[in-house]
Amino acid sequence: MLVPPLPVLASIGAVRPVFLIVMGICLMIFVWRLAMGANDWAARLMVAGSLLLGLGYAVILPLYEAGIIESLNAGAVLENPATALAWQAVKLVVMNGGWFVFGVGIAMHAGILPSPATRMATSPRPEAVPLPQATPVPHP
């Protein structure tokens, strides 16, 4: 893809992929810092969802915007339909699955969905620490 030099750099269309990359990486870092040391299911699901979203926002969506992956729009002439179809499937699973897993994790963290770890907190498992009172657990 031929990129004209300066005027495009200032436009929203050129800044958006960079912004998405930064936001995806920031999302991963912040969720990792939030879940650091906690090992209940809310933390696990949030980390899993943020990793999926980070992959989607920092890798797959910028590749689409850069034109390296062909978009599967209706009526588009594709060089390689099978590859475009497979990337479409990957994008569907990564983005939607990422938001779903992250949403379930943060709902457990906020107490909307009951977390399995908080139910297990009465059982004698000392390592089941809920997220808000998370303390760093030393590595074995």
């Binding site: 969720v31 569907l92 990422g98 938001w99 992250f102 949403g103 906020a110 009172q133």
Partner: protein
């Protein structure tokens, strides 16, 4: 076509519904965080999640609206404005969620110390 790929592509509605459900859960829990625990990051996260949800729903319902003739009824200028809204909402919504998450994480850390 491979059966797995076919299953994923033909169940696109299911996956989209999962994504919308996840965004709704994020919005709900962000509102709950901001109301109950007075974490102001929750408000930012709620705004981000709601704008992402609105853009996502608009994108998903675009074929339906187009086949229903809504865009012809609205005229080209309104349609152009409507079409340019979802990318802005998607970008700002992601920024809101990330900002809210950062604020919530900071709030948790300061509250704990």
């Amino acid at each position: 076509m491979k059966p797995l790929l076919e299953a994923i592509l033909s169940n696109g509605l299911l996956l989209d519904a999962a994504g919308v459900l996840g965004l709704g859960l994020i919005g709900l829990s962000a509102i709950r965080l901001s109301r109950r625990e007075r974490s102001w990051g929750g408000t930012m996260m709620a705004i981000g999640a709601i704008s992402l949800l609105a853009a996502r729903l608009f994108i998903l319902s675009k074929p339906l609206l187009a086949s229903g003739g809504v865009f012809q009824a609205l005229g080209s200028r309104t349609t152009y404005t409507l079409m340019s809204l979802p990318p802005i909402l998607l970008t700002l919504g992601l920024a809101g969620i990330v900002w809210g998450l950062w604020a919530h994480e900071k709030w948790l850390r300061e509250g704990r110390d």
